[in-house]
């Protein structure tokens, strides 16, 4: 019983200090998530990793694992909640998958498949945020932003640049870049930045490589995200030795 908890009835070991999400991922268990990334500090905003611990709702990415915890993850109640959260994100932004370069490699889309989301359900907000194509190598489509702040964290914590931030409040929250003009070209952003590859959706896109990977060979074509996410983590741990 020491240093293990139950995830949907299965025992999951953890090392002290790990969150439920970290321990579950290390054990090859998938808890849905959008804003969580193994390389960055937990953010806790998307709420997709909402689980039930001892009967109470909690986010797996911010809750420390504790011995003897009973964590519910794959129940119909939680899947329905996550599906609704995804639907809220889909109507808040403009998520037209057929014309999005990220389609097939998109964490939002793949997670929605995993949760069996068949429709956006709510009325669409159809936001109108200007696209920024000023940078020579990368373009930004702000209409797809899910406010996960992964780019904010990557640019600040890895690249040491602070290129991105969120501004505004509530439904008017939006991504901004670090320049007086508001243009990416006027920041010190580079296509080699970690922030350039961390966006889970189609906001930060490399130019001239769109749709290069044929349908069928994209990240989530062959396997669902529940398998891919766990495999990716195992690979990165192998690399790290």
């Amino acid at each position: 019983m020491t240093n293990s908890f139950l995830l949907d009835g299965e025992e999951v070991p953890f090392t002290p200090g790990q969150t439920v999400m970290q321990a579950a991922s290390a054990a090859g268990k998938y808890i849905p998530h959008l804003c969580w990334h193994p390389d960055f500090a937990a953010h806790g905003s998307c709420k997709l990793c909402t689980v039930k611990i001892g009967g109470r709702f909690a986010t797996a990415c911010t809750t420390r694992a504790a011995a003897g915890q009973e964590v519910e993850n794959g129940t119909e109640e939680l899947i329905a909640k996550r599906r609704t959260l995804l639907q809220l994100l889909f109507v808040e932004g403009n998520h037209f998958c057929p014309s999005c370069e990220k389609s097939g490699n998109c964490v939002l889309q793949a997670t929605a498949y995993e949760m069996g989301m068949l429709s956006p359900h709510f009325d669409h907000f159809y936001p109108d945020r200007a696209v920024d194509a000023s940078h020579p190598d990368v373009l930004l489509d702000f209409n797809r932003c899910i406010m996960c702040e992964l780019c904010v964290r990557a640019s600040r914590d890895v690249d040491g640049k602070n290129v991105f931030a969120l501004s505004g409040r509530g439904a008017k929250s939006h991504l901004i870049v670090n320049s007086e003009s508001g243009r990416l070209a006027d920041t010190d952003f580079a296509a080699t930045d970690r922030a350039a590859e961390v966006c889970p959706v189609g906001v930060i896109l490399r130019k001239r490589v769109g749709f290069a990977v044929p349908i069928g060979q994209r990240d989530y074509d062959a396997k669902p995200i529940s398998q891919k996410a766990v495999e990716k983590l195992a690979d990165s741990e192998k690399e790290a030795g």
Binding site: T84, L85, L88, I146, G168, R169, N178
Partner: protein, 605 residues
């Protein structure tokens, strides 16, 4: 000129990045708005990323990153202001100034908009003119205001009586009748010593007055025991719950009790620094409070070596900038550190990791004033007042349909009916007991008691008589939360926006039972999935009103089946205009009428 202004503001704040909210406010005061080049200058002066400055500037309602006119008029838009006719007054002012609400006049002179409750519900309708409070609006005042604006008379030169804020204290009990001299409570606390003092607070069973009711002794002890380079006391004067204004009165007329309470808290937890986080809506109090703090320093009641007893504690006032979420303690601390007011991940809690990562106790204004009272009178004395689980008295801000709106201090355990009786309420239909964020009581519940164990309240008591449409109260609250959600987490950011849209849909007679089910579902999603108390409580009043005053909603159900959320006929407006068409085919009815009218195909077998 602008650059010089900013430089001197930065110097005044020692170029400390965590003072960014204050720097932005003063820059805006000096220059009218926060221009892109001003944000750049501030970022350079503080040596922080520009995006960080823009992030904070964009978060708060009272900061503008575009010019909003020499005169910025913000009508308080709480439901109580609406009940007093603020919407007509706002329309009138807009007409007189040839404006649309929310739009800046073409000559850049003025803009008129709505803002969340400004804490003047007992003397509304109210507004902020360049962030200065004006109460008791009348058509005559609006008329004259338009005239003054057109003649470009400075707000400071407007009739002084417009800015008068009454205390409206209607019932005094042990706190409002304390009879203590400034510093008397503090001296008593110093006599008791930190351990003795904490013992009295524990014996008093004092619980936080913000609404959640956390034990003050536990909070103070955990903070005292936490390791840190420095400890901090924060007085939460971000009184933003719609319908609450008790802290305004404590700050206006009982400020020494509040300051004594802060010093006492500092003494108890081992802090030498305290902050008052004053909501931006109470800007008018700032200079007065600063003066009073200076007087106390002169009198040896604040600062170094207080009362000659070797205790050092000083207080700084930070002004908020229009964000209800900053009443949440970790969001408040973020704001105090110069950031957008987004609640932190908890744990760790502020008592161990608060302001600048140090142990911090955040207490409500009223809690601190009561702590001062307990320091003098002792815990046993306090505990004898109220109920066993809710000791002492509670300040209630009573507004709405009552003869005598204002502040009522009652011992806990008083029934809602007794409060209504005291305030002169007749023919009461409903009472909200925790502003927009808590339950709404119907007449058969007025026997219930104000106490943590029955009807918990931060003190907002809004009264609705039988003539009121409770649907409009619910709609006002739904819009309040959509405006005040910080936007951090998905369920609250999008959920509050969806709810506001659904309520508007019903208000425009496009509702069906489908929409009511949607709101019920949203309630279940937001409860539990939201990041903080705002999201977790944002649907409670809405759901309560829906459950208890269902006819107010049923009246608005236009169709038994689904209706679109938008006006189909209006959706053809641009095409009609561009084609010049107005024939029958150039219009659309709603679904119900279309169905009633039948269709050729339905005649077929």
């Amino acid at each position: 000129m602008a650059a010089m202004n900013i430089e001197s503001i930065l110097d005044r704040h020692s170029r400390e990045a965590h003072r960014l909210v204050q720097i932005l406010r003063e820059t805006q005061d000096a220059l009218g708005w926060l221009a892109p080049e001003s944000l750049t200058a501030i970022a350079e002066g503080l040596d922080i990323p520009r995006a960080q400055v823009e992030s904070t500037a964009g978060f708060y309602s009272f900061f503008h990153t575009r010019p909003l006119g020499d005169y910025r008029i913000l009508f308080s838009d709480n439901i109580t202001d609406r009940m007093l006719g603020n919407q007509d007054l706002m329309r009138t002012l807009c007409e007189k100034l040839w404006l649309e609400p929310g739009r800046v006049a073409e000559d850049g002179l003025v803009s008129v908009d709505a803002t969340s409750c400004t804490g003047m519900c007992d003397q509304g309708p109210a507004l902020l003119a360049n962030y200065r409070t004006i109460t008791r609006l009348t058509p005559a005042r609006i008329d004259e205001m338009a005239h003054l604006i057109r003649r470009r008379v400075q707000v400071g030169d407007w009739p002084p009586e417009w800015f008068h804020v009454e205390d409206n204290i209607r019932r005094r009990d042990v706190l409002l009748d304390h009879g203590l001299a400034p510093g008397e409570a503090l001296a008593a606390a110093l006599d008791r010593g930190p351990t003795g003092l904490l013992g009295e607070i524990e014996r008093s069973a004092l619980r936080g007055r913000g609404g959640a009711g956390f034990g003050s002794d536990i909070k103070w002890r955990s903070c005292r025991d936490a390791w840190g380079d420095a400890h901090y006391v924060i007085c939460n004067a971000d009184e933003g719950e719609p319908g609450t204004f008790k802290d305004r009165v404590l700050l206006s007329s009982y400020f020494d009790m509040v300051v004594d309470g802060m010093c006492i808290a500092g003494f108890a937890i081992g802090a030498s620094k305290g902050f008052i986080y004053l909501r931006g809506e109470y800007r008018y109090l700032l200079d007065r409070l600063e003066t009073r703090l200076a007087q106390r320093r002169e009198a040896g009641l604040l600062g170094r070596n207080i009362l000659g007893r070797g205790f050092t504690f000083d207080i700084e006032i930070h002004l908020g900038a229009g964000a209800y979420i900053c009443g949440e303690e970790s969001a408040l601390i973020e704001s105090l550190e110069g950031k957008p007011g987004k609640p932190r991940i908890r744990p760790p809690f502020p008592v161990t990791h608060g302001y600048l990562g140090q142990p911090t106790t955040v207490n409500n204004v009223e809690t601190l004033a009561l702590a001062a009272l307990i320091a003098v009178k002792g815990g046993e004395w306090f505990r004898a007042i109220g109920t066993p689980a809710s000791t002492g008295t509670k300040l209630l801000s009573v507004s709405g349909d009552v003869a005598r709106p204002g502040i009522y201090e009652f011992p806990f355990g008083v029934t809602v009916a007794e409060v209504l009786e005291a305030a002169g309420a007749t023919d009461t239909q409903a009472v909200t007991t925790a502003g927009a964020a808590g339950s709404c009581l119907a007449a058969n519940e007025f026997g219930r008691r104000i106490a943590f164990e029955d009807v918990p309240t931060g003190g907002s008591i809004m009264v609705f008589d039988q003539s009121r449409d409770m649907f409009e109260a619910a709609r006002n609250f739904a819009h309040f939360f959509a405006h005040e959600s910080c936007g951090f987490c998905t369920p609250c950011r999008v959920g509050t926006a969806v709810n506001a849209r659904l309520m508007d849909k019903l208000a425009l007679d496009r509702g069906s039972p489908y929409d009511l089910d949607e709101m019920e579902k949203m309630h279940h999603l937001m409860q539990g999935a939201s990041h903080c108390g705002l999201g977790n409580t944002a649907t409670i009043a809405l759901r309560d009103i829906l459950a208890k005053f269902r006819p107010a909603f049923d009246r608005r159900l236009h169709s038994p089946d689904y209706e679109p959320g938008f006006d189909l006929d209006a959706a053809l407006s641009q095409a009609r205009r561009m084609t010049g068409r107005d024939d029958a085919g150039a219009h659309l009815t709603d679904n119900l009428s279309a169905h009633a009218g039948g269709h050729p195909s339905e005649a077929k077998p």
